[in-house]
């Protein structure tokens, strides 16, 4: 009896960690949103930030039920003064975009880790982000002069195609090597090849197209607008929800492919869905913000440590939130530390993300030896 009681207690403490971690992450995210909104070349007091946002939301809701009567009021809040314009036109979309894309990138990384059963898989290290960039680059340089349009939907498709292409390529290689470090090396090499192709094209492309490409590939959340936020919302949130609904087969798959099949997981279609969702999420990020490094590896790992569990149905929502927090703060650092000069978001995420990868590799190595 005592054993049973103890047993219940242990699983309960484990379950209690999840709401605790989720709550802390939500609070951190809110904090990040507020700090991001009020810091910058023009600092807006937090109280004003709250007031403006709450007014806007209030009218937004009233507008929803009042069939557009309050649209003027909303516009008035936005256009009231410089501060409100900075908040609504620049900072708010930027911080929302950073959190959505950060979350998406982390979930994408987590799914790749499940797929390759390798804790250092991620869209950036496997060269998938660079692949997406290459295809987008080729599209901008060779297709845009023909079609003449430069819509975000077009970029998204090119990016998705690139992500999927490189994922399949890496998948092909991964069947030849079982070793986790080798997979990483292959991913980095593929990434270099893609970058080389991109650079090659830039060298011979005409100037006007290059400007388009460089702007895009800077890898930054600067210049975020509400359209991008909407696009990100439409892709990242459903993508993450699909991933969440895959929690059960993911858990079985973590055991092994053969065991998952023996428990009734339709392994083939499961793998396809996993890759598609992961590619879609990382493609969305790459299309909007350019390649962002190491978030996909670092965040899932941090989440596992925080939760002390690998139950996918706890991990996936946490990974998304944690990724949002991570990117919001990285973006804050990117735009404020050397202000007025802005750093690339990838620079900051690398500084915090790469050490996690090094740590994971060393830890793995020493475990092997034992």
């Amino acid at each position: 009896m005592t054993e049973k009681q103890q047993h219940v207690k242990l699983s309960d403490t484990k379950r209690a960690r999840f709401p605790l971690v989720m709550l802390s992450l939500v609070l951190l995210l809110l904090l990040g949103l507020v700090i991001n909104a009020n810091t910058g070349s023009v600092s807006i007091p937090a109280s004003r930030v709250f007031q403006m946002i709450s007014d806007w939301i209030r009218y937004g809701i009233m507008n929803l039920f009042g069939s557009g009567k309050y649209a003027d009021k909303m516009a008035e809040i936005i256009n009231k003064d410089t501060e409100s314009q900075i908040l609504f036109r620049i900072r708010l979309p930027r911080v929302l975009l950073a959190s959505l894309l950060g979350g998406a990138l982390s979930v994408s990384g987590y799914l790749l880790q499940v797929f390759f059963r390798n804790p250092i898989a991620g869209p950036f290290v496997l060269g998938i982000s660079s692949g997406a960039k290459m295809i987008v680059g080729l599209a901008i340089i060779f297709l845009m002069p023909l079609t003449g349009n430069f819509s975000s939907g077009f970029l998204m498709c090119a990016s998705f195609f690139g992500s999927l292409l490189i994922t399949l390529l890496v998948l092909l290689f991964s069947q030849k090597v079982q070793n986790m470090s080798m997979l990483l090396v292959i991913g980095i090499m593929v990434g270099y090849i893609c970058s080389a192709v991109t650079d090659f094209c830039i060298t011979f492309a005409n100037e006007h197209d290059v400007v388009n490409l460089t702007n895009w590939s800077m890898g930054s959340f600067s210049g975020a607008n509400w359209d991008q936020v909407k696009t990100a919302l439409l892709i990242c949130v459903p993508g993450t929800i699909i991933a969440f609904f895959l929690s059960k087969p993911i858990e079985a798959y973590l055991l092994s492919e053969a065991y998952a099949a023996s428990m009734g997981v339709p392994v083939k279609s499961f793998r396809v869905i996993l890759l598609l969702v992961s590619s879609l999420l990382s493609a969305c990020v790459t299309a909007i913000a350019g390649p962002v490094s190491f978030v996909g590896i670092a965040v899932p790992h941090i989440t596992r440590v925080l939760l002390r569990s690998s139950k996918p149905r706890y991990i996936i929502p946490c990974v998304f939130l944690c990724g949002a927090v991570f990117c919001v703060f990285c973006d804050l650092i990117a735009r404020t530390v050397f202000s007025p000069v802005e750093l690339k978001i990838g620079t900051v995420t690398s500084v915090f993300g790469a050490p996690v990868v090094i740590y994971l590799m060393i830890k793995r190595r020493s475990e092997r030896r034992v």
Partner: protein, 372 residues
């Protein structure tokens, strides 16, 4: 309700290359079938085909009277569960969570466990004597403990048919027996059909109701352990040199040392066996006698030497056997007295000792005393 299991003209293989043809087995509920055969005999291939990991090249697997191919993944998972040889290494999962995975085909799309599910998980852990491990991190366990948790996982799936690929691999001898005991209990009490592959022939002969012997090309034999025993199938299957494998005990001895015997061992009652083995290790050819054919020493002696003087069981030692033994002693350099019990029937062995001494042969009691 317990189901039967059968195969009809089942042909298995990889990539359309046929490995084993025409497997026909028929199992009643509560039967244990063991696949035996040398490495690469196709045991795993057959098991993988039964579990639908590989497609059958032709023929049908029946569960009850339905072809296994018509079941959906989920239905099939409720009928059959597996224990594989592959090493699993899930990160940060407790043993209980690993076992709980067995409820997969029964839970809703989020894998929520009902009270009944939790009860089955607890029972499964108890059945493999691993309740104390339930909160331990799976990755901290020893290989033997892992194997037991994976067995609990398979049991937790509440299958009609339990399919195990080398369930005793990685286990020490006590856990081997314990594992097989659990399987016997499952089959007897719940009517579960157990299909497994084993490398330990001796255990296979003892635990199985049916044996399927494979050699990588065909089914060598299929039947009860008694049939397999009386037809000396094992020796052929593993191509044992005569004597190496003991059909009665299912045990093996190292190959005998050939050549003219140097030592004559007076054995009997089990006292001779350790001496035979010691001589084999030193590479010394020996003769042994005079043994009754029902003596345990007789079993090992014929495995380890071609020069054994054997007398009929329950009869006094005959004159010609004594002559034969004396002949051996004359040609040997030493005599080893194993210290066997001497009774009215084997008094001749005492005479052999005096015969050796008369002929000037040193008589020792222990192998170490020999100066070769």
């Amino acid at each position: 309700m317990p189901l039967t299991f059968s195969t009809q003209d089942l042909t298995v293989g990889y990539n359309k290359r046929i490995l084993i043809q025409n497997i026909n087995i028929q199992l009643e509920p509560g039967t244990i079938l063991t696949l035996i055969g040398p490495n690469g005999a196709g045991k795993s291939t057959v098991l993988k085909t039964i579990t639908r990991q590989l497609q059958a090249l032709s023929g049908t697997v029946f569960i009850g009277n339905l072809s296994s191919a018509i079941f959906s993944n989920r239905e099939f998972a409720r009928k059959a569960s597996v224990l594989l040889t592959e090493h699993v290494d899930p990160e940060r999962m407790t043993c209980e969570e690993v076992v709980a995975m067995g409820r997969y085909p029964y839970t809703n799309m989020f894998g929520t466990l009902s009270d009944h599910d939790k009860e089955v998980i607890r029972e499964s852990l108890e059945l493999v004597h691993a309740s104390v491990l339930s909160d331990r991190d799976f990755s901290t366990l020893s290989d033997g403990q892992r194997q037991r948790i994976m067995l609990a996982r398979a049991i937790c799936q509440e299958p009609e048919i339990l399919i195990l690929d080398e369930p005793t691999a990685y286990l020490d001898i006590r856990f081997k027996i314990e594992t097989l005991e659990i399987l016997q209990k499952m089959s007897r009490e719940k009517g579960i059909i157990v299909i497994m592959s084993l490398h330990e022939i001796d255990l296979a002969m003892k635990v199985s109701d049916k044996l399927l012997c494979l050699d990588g090309e065909k089914v060598i034999s299929y039947g009860s352990p008694e049939d397999i025993f009386s037809n000396h199938v094992i020796e052929d299957l593993y191509q044992f040199e005569n004597g190496t494998y003991n059909n009665l005990f299912g045990s093996v001895e190292m190959p005998k040392i050939t050549g003219e015997p140097l030592v004559f061992v007076i054995a009997g009652n089990g006292c001779g066996t350790p001496i035979f083995r010691a001589l084999q290790r030193k590479g010394i050819p020996f003769a042994a006698g005079i043994l009754f054919e029902n003596d345990v020493d007789c079993q090992t002696a014929v495995s380890l030497s071609s020069h054994v003087v054997i007398n009929k069981a329950f009869e006094t030692i005959s004159e010609d056997k004594i002559r034969a033994a004396e002949q051996y002693i004359r040609n040997c350099k030493y005599v080893l007295d194993s210290g066997t019990v001497i009774g009215p029937l084997n008094e001749a062995n005492i005479e052999l000792i005096s015969f050796a001494q008369e002929n000037g042969l040193p008589v020792f009691k222990r192998v170490e005393e020999l100066s070769l």
